[in-house]
Symmetry: C2
Subunit: 540 residues, 2 copies
């Protein structure tokens, strides 16, 4: 390998050697289906600060009322330990002055220590979108940067569509960079706004711009060619010392560069300490916490922090992993706060089941017959639509049943029923009745809820509490539904995954049935049984 | 830009100049949550052939019974027009002969014209996972390649863990490549099995191996650093002429290189015609059709073929796109069979709503007051959990209501109720009763179904058919549920998205309520109303 490894860099928040600049709250929020309240933004900003990024771009005050409010509340409520807040905005309007431009004044009023100005450097964009002259566009950049610097702000210039512009008219694109730097911009971030570049183009351009202007350069990439991370790294190898990205790669179209992936690659693969290792260990937790706030389903295949990122399923791999986990992992999952997982699947075979058993505390080595029975049952259930990847608790109940010779049964169900009624001028209500035998007695209980699963959960809990008071702290915390379509069988089947918590920890269970309510019931019952097993409760 | 553009290459199926090699059915199937039946594999193979890939790796005959069956059925049932089938397998066992090895014989018996042999070239893997000597490992490679070539098979050697091995012991890794090529392997595919590499490492290694051995090289990447696509491209720029990947980037952990993204980049960005342009235009359709078979939810941010890949939401962009769509797109979405879309969102403002209206056939330019009312209502509904990104029909009903001054109302609902009952030894059944007024008459109808939504759909349709026989062909074809958690409000809210089809086309509607049944009802009603509006039906 002939690639030179650059010297390690120190960091710490907004240290000057290298900028880790997050734009989740501004460019990330452009993602389809994503909408952040001011509260959401404040919560995410705290997570970003915990992660140790140097800069948090909070939004566009003056242009978006929610963002104006964000900066006002951030000044009062956020006490950031690591990060500097940046306000995003545009250069002054054509023909005016920066000092008199209401949008520029709103940037000042935001009290953000850093201002990131978007500017055009592609002649077609200047003429067709901005509808001004190339000369006036340069004046807008210079005036606005100078004005903000004179007012004591650190300024980043986001050179929009830089790489397209540089391809079509390199002289003009270079002039924008040069004039912005001369006017006092601390960094000129070259943006692949349309996301169409590949790494060699980025590397060449950054090299050339650095040589021609000497300006401090940043990089802002989108993932339209699937190369946002590689493009960011190519720019950094070529000399950029400021990288922009978003948590979970949120962003318009295919998203922005995933900041955690970029940073993890720099720290783990290139030994560039742009983030403190103990903060990087928070990355998985923070990426998932943020997806709770954004309500965007986490992408399980996300590099480093995805639920599947260190999950192994192949039978070939599983048997080798028993020998040496390092052989099949490109990095230690703990470095980003993630875990290695063995998946239970019909492809895995007995080696994976044995490993999974070990993970759960069962030594199945040498118990060939039990292993075979479990493997067969898992295969048969998967053929019917079950999946145990996200339902460890249901798998453990099955495993225990085969190991112990009988299923943990805490009660016997006679029947259940749920009625959901529309109500005039109010939300629909659901009412569930459960009839079962527990602790030697027949119990009939009715529960109400704002949905059928909620009502069944209430009724079941009410029926069981007298016999099993240990159920008191249990709570249904997540509920996911997937319709398995006809491609997999003749009839549509519903798979329900439920997450149950006892306050300290949580576990997943699965139910499958044509009827969504029945599938939910199955997962609910497993969730409660597992809670009792977990607390060592015996049948009463 | 100084990057040299290689000369265009012709292609067509399994043409020799460049191999587009798909391993969705083998390596892709290792993905968490993915399980393919033999039928599924046959369906996907036909899609891959339509896409025009040169090679389809079907599985591991002899090791996985389902895969043995796949090759047997493929020989009888598949008539591929473009692609060559490849069987994946291992070299002979240590100490034996290739001719007598049952696993090697199973590869022959599969009748696949190409055999891809996985071989180790990393000393630690040879010694610890394979438990044999370095010399015997070389003999295993040479014997097995020679035997299969003598039997008339084309052979690819998958050099597993190549890049890790090359880093730790370059001489041994090179020897494996050299010996395989000398023994008759057509291609040696260098595999970044653990996915930990970055593009410069890949480029350097491919350059060096090519210089040292002269073997024809392929590349097989995983996405653990988020660089699978860029790594594949780096290898190709360095001289590899065979690329392996999977549809939708399926694969273990973070997945394999997304073959469509790699190919689209080569064709569109590098002008290398490794796939015929008219076949590339099928890519979006095929990627989505395959996700129907795999039952893996499509990733909306997927490059080129994702639902969001050419979707625009920002107000800034939206106003510029009116001027020139080319300014904000890195490629023509039609080149991959995708479309530009304008999203309706609280961030977009009136410019996007106006464009969206135009997309739907409404000219709202100059109708400032109507535009403001629609924008305000969309904002208010989004704040309550609605999303119109995937519910164009619900949005159009809202837009029509504001334009026409009243909502399209075809009937008036009095009440509805759904009962779901467990049944001994049978699936639970749901029964719905709907009471409504249509065509001047009060109707009470009851429907049964295998779930509450299905039952409501039956009852509603039955109640309306006498007045609106146009509803006959309508069918509910997709149903998605999302629980919006408490981070967005005090109570959990359920959002239901429904897709309704009239056989010719389909449309999406949305419902939001605390109760999943009520949210479903709302989306069902919108779906039916839109079907009537669409067919120009008047209220009766």
């Amino acid at each position: 390998m002939t690639t030179a490894t650059p010297a390690p860099l120190t960091t710490g928040g907004s240290a000057n050697e290298f900028h880790v600049y997050d734009t989740t709250l501004r460019d990330g929020a452009q993602q389809e289906g994503l909408s952040l309240s001011v509260n959401d933004k404040l919560v995410i900003a705290r997570h970003l600060d915990d992660l140790g990024v140097g800069f948090i771009e909070g939004g566009w005050p003056g242009a978006i009322p929610k963002d104006t409010e964000f900066f006002a509340r951030a000044a009062r409520e956020l006490s950031l330990r690591n990060a500097v807040l940046a306000a995003f905005g545009a250069t002054r309007r054509p023909g005016g002055t920066a000092a008199a431009d209401p949008q520029v004044r709103a940037l000042l009023a935001s009290q953000a220590a850093m201002v990131t100005l978007v500017a055009k450097c592609h002649p077609r964009h200047v003429e067709q979108a901005l509808r001004t002259t190339l000369e006036e566009n340069l004046a807008m950049v210079v005036d606005t940067v100078r004005f903000l610097v004179a007012e004591g702000r650190r300024v980043v210039l986001d050179a929009e569509h830089f790489f397209d512009g540089y391809r079509d008219d390199p002289a003009y694109a270079l002039e924008v960079v040069e004039r912005a730097a001369q006017a006092g911009a601390e960094v000129v971030a070259l943006c692949d706004t349309n996301g169409g570049m590949l790494p060699p183009q980025i590397a060449d351009a950054v090299n050339e711009v650095l040589g021609a202007t000497g300006a401090r350069l940043g990089i802002h990439c989108h993932n339209d060619t699937g190369c946002a991370v590689a493009n960011s790294l190519a720019a950094i190898e070529a000399g950029a010392t400021h990288v922009q990205g978003t948590l979970n790669g949120y962003g318009e179209r295919t998203g922005n560069a995933d900041l955690v992936t970029v940073v993890a690659n720099l720290v783990i693969k290139r030994q560039r300490l742009v983030l403190e290792p103990q903060r990087l260990r928070e990355a998985t937790r923070i990426a998932h916490a943020v997806s709770e706030v954004t309500n965007v389903v986490p992408y399980s295949r996300q590099p480093y922090v995805g639920a599947s990122a260190f999950a192994h399923k192949g039978g070939l791999h599983a048997s080798a992993i028993r020998v040496d986990p390092g052989l099949y992992q490109h990095a230690d999952p703990r470095a980003v706060g993630n875990d290695m997982r063995m998946l239970v699947s019909d492809m895995a075979g007995r080696a994976s089941i044995e490993l999974k058993g070990r993970e759960l505390g069962y030594d199945l080595a040498g118990q060939g017959e039990v292993l075979s029975r479990i493997t067969d049952r898992v295969k048969a259930l998967e053929a019917r639509g079950y999946t145990f990847d996200a339902a460890d608790a249901s798998f453990e109940l099955l495993l225990r049943e085969e190991v112990d010779g009988e299923r943990a049964r805490f009660f016997d169900v006679e029947s259940w029923r749920v009625i959901t009624d529309s109500r005039p001028d109010a939300c629909a209500m659901s009412e569930a009745t459960v009839k079962l035998f527990a602790a030697g007695r027949r119990v009939v209980a009715t529960g109400e809820g704002n949905g059928p699963v909620n009502a069944l959960d209430q009724a079941l809990r009410q029926a069981l509490l007298p016999a099993y008071p240990e159920l008191e702290p249990l709570q249904l915390i997540d509920f996911r539904v997937r319709i398995l379509d006809a491609a997999h069988g003749t009839d549509a089947t519903t798979r329900v995954l439920i997450e149950t918590s006892d306050g300290a920890t949580s576990w997943g269970t699965v139910g499958v049935a044509p009827n969504i309510v029945e599938a939910s019931w199955e997962a609910l019952v497993d969730g409660i049984c597992y809670g009792l097993v977990r607390h060592g409760v015996q049948r009463r």
